[in-house]
């Protein structure tokens, strides 16, 4: 297993956001984490990236214990996060934001990767030297995804990447996810767009109030009636 999480606990004061969640992502696998608002998905990813210290449990990445490692160590080992709410640097230009993605990896092959990003997100290419603050919501989301891609991770953790993207781009995004996965990248995907997430993923985990409620292969989950009722809406 590339990523192995055992009994993870995340608390904020007296709020227990994640309560003993276990999950794993194999090399080259896409795993999706589903759940309603406040289920603890973001908290889980923040703990995995090291932005929040877990109160209990164990995180292993590629055989190394990462439970208390710094975000930089994790990133260097190959874990990258596209955080909720984009978190781009609004005082920097689009290009500088992308360069920030390469902060740890160094300059080797950077130009090629940058070109690839610009090609994939033409909106960013035309706004290369503009301050990121003037980007539209969706463009900012593209920037956040592009920035994470630049860091050349082995495991990419995406927190609601389709948020604010137009249907055409959502489709493009999922195609991209599939494509980079084909290139061998593992992906941990948090999504509200349940259908598409289950469509692209091999396995899924459903969180409810910080606990693991359901888990299984994507196909099983997609067929699960309780899930359909809870997350897929009446539609």
């Amino acid at each position: 297993m590339l990523l192995d999480v055992k009994d993870l606990e995340v608390t904020y004061g007296r709020t227990r956001a994640v309560r003993g969640v276990s999950l794993s992502v194999a090399e080259g696998e896409i795993v999706t984490v589903l759940g309603s608002n406040g289920a603890g998905k973001t908290s889980l990813l923040r703990a995995l990236q090291g932005a929040r210290k877990p109160q209990g449990g164990k995180i292993t990445f590629d055989g190394r214990d990462m439970t208390n490692a710094s975000p930089a160590t994790r990133l260097a080992a190959g874990m990258a996060l596209v955080p909720e709410g984009r978190q781009i640097f609004v005082s920097m230009t689009v290009h500088e934001n992308l360069l920030m993605g390469a902060y740890l990896r160094g300059e080797g092959g950077l130009d090629r990767d940058l070109d690839a990003i610009y090609e994939r997100f033409p909106n960013l290419a035309t706004r290369r030297d503009m301050k990121a603050s003037v980007l539209s919501g969706g463009e900012q989301q593209m920037l956040a995804v592009g920035r994470a891609l630049i860091s050349r991770p082995r495991l990419m953790m995406l927190d609601e990447p389709s948020l604010g993207l137009s249907p055409l781009f959502v489709a493009k995004l999922f195609a991209l996810i599939r494509e980079i996965n084909d290139g061998g990248l593992s992906i941990l995907l948090v999504e509200q767009n349940t259908h598409m997430a289950l469509d692209v993923a091999q396995r899924g985990v459903v969180l409810e109030l910080g606990r693991e409620m359901l888990s299984g292969s994507a196909a099983e989950l997609a067929a699960d009636p309780s899930l359909a009722e809870a997350y897929l809406g009446a539609a």
């Binding site: 004061g13 007296r14 709020t15 227990r16 309603s36 608002n37 406040g38 109030l209």
Partner: protein, 309 residues
């Protein structure tokens, strides 16, 4: 009442009024590092009216608040276009200019200062402090208070909510200035002499610290901050020698123990400030703390997450 406590209460009450003056500006998101300037305006207004015009106490005290309020209000119009560090520096510059102007004006005594005829004992400042605190609690509980806090959090959105942001800022700053001026008027009469050298940058810094360390989220903050920072050095005045004696005894040192350098008091004050910012950056008293105290059960239920849907 002992003379020491009478003196201390006077000082405390003046500091509390002063701190509330700065608090109102900070609550609306304006760090005012020109407190000493506003207090000086109030103090000199009261002193001049009492000494040169021989006005009665009630008039001079009221005038100290009104004059400073008007000065603050007028100053607020241009200066509140600034934000963040720029505003901090603008208010700091204001205090320096006030000091420079007073120092150069012979009719206000220049460097010589000015005596103030009518003496007030601790009761007047204490009543003024109580009234100020009540006023601020009331103000912050009204829609005005809500709007002030909204402006603090996000002025752009507050504007779109229909809030007249510049007006709210100017009012908060103006009332704050009036209170700072009032504290100056009290100062003038409680200490019977005003000298511009005492209204210096250090004073501006201290009063801003009262507010930020006490906590700018609720009107309890400035009170707690002023009380803490007025009383802490006094506690240390008595406590420091005892502490050194204890330490010396522990180390087996006997004989005459020299009293510790008084500067240690300020060192400790600095250490407390730094530690506060590390462990409680939002100040001694936060909204959450008060919420917990007043609604212990409701909080517990809210945070239990189980209640989501």
């Amino acid at each position: 009442m002992s003379g020491y406590w009478a003196g201390l209460l006077t000082l405390l009450a003046i500091n509390v009024v002063f701190a509330y003056g700065i608090y109102l500006a900070v609550a609306a998101g304006q760090l005012n590092l020109g407190g000493a300037g506003f207090q000086a305006v109030g103090a000199y207004a009261a002193a001049w009216l009492a000494f040169e015009m021989e006005m009665p106490l009630a008039v001079t005290i009221a005038a100290s608040a009104v004059v400073t309020g008007v000065v603050g209000y007028l100053f607020a119009f241009p200066i509140l276009r600034l934000k963040g560090v720029y505003l901090v520096l603008g208010t700091y510059a204001f205090a320096e200019v006030v000091a420079g102007v007073i120092l150069n004006s012979d009719s206000l005594g220049g460097a010589m200062g000015m005596p103030v005829p009518t003496f007030i004992d601790w009761q007047v400042p204490v009543i003024a402090a109580a009234a100020t605190a009540l006023l601020c609690f009331y103000l912050m509980s009204t829609r005005f208070g809500l709007v002030v806090r909204a402006v603090h959090d996000d002025d752009l959105v507050a504007d779109l909510m229909g809030v007249n942001v510049p007006r709210i800022r100017v009012i908060a700053f103006g009332i704050g200035a009036a209170l700072a001026g009032l504290s100056g008027g009290l100062y003038a009469h409680a200490y019977s002499f005003v000298e511009i050298q005492n209204f210096n940058a250090a004073l501006s810094i201290y009063v801003l610290l009262y507010v930020l360390l006490g906590g700018a989220q609720t009107p309890w903050g400035p009170f707690a901050g002023a009380a803490f920072f007025t009383l802490l050095p006094e506690l240390l005045r008595a406590g420091l020698p005892a502490l050194t004696e204890m330490l010396s005894a522990l180390l087996g040192k006997t004989g005459v123990i020299s009293t510790p350098d008084e500067s240690w008091r300020f060192v400790i004050l600095g250490v407390v400030t730094v530690l506060m910012m590390v462990f409680r950056p939002e100040g001694l008293i936060t909204r959450a703390a008060i919420e917990r105290l007043t609604h212990p059960r409701r909080r517990a239920k809210d945070t239990a997450v189980e209640v989501t849907e």
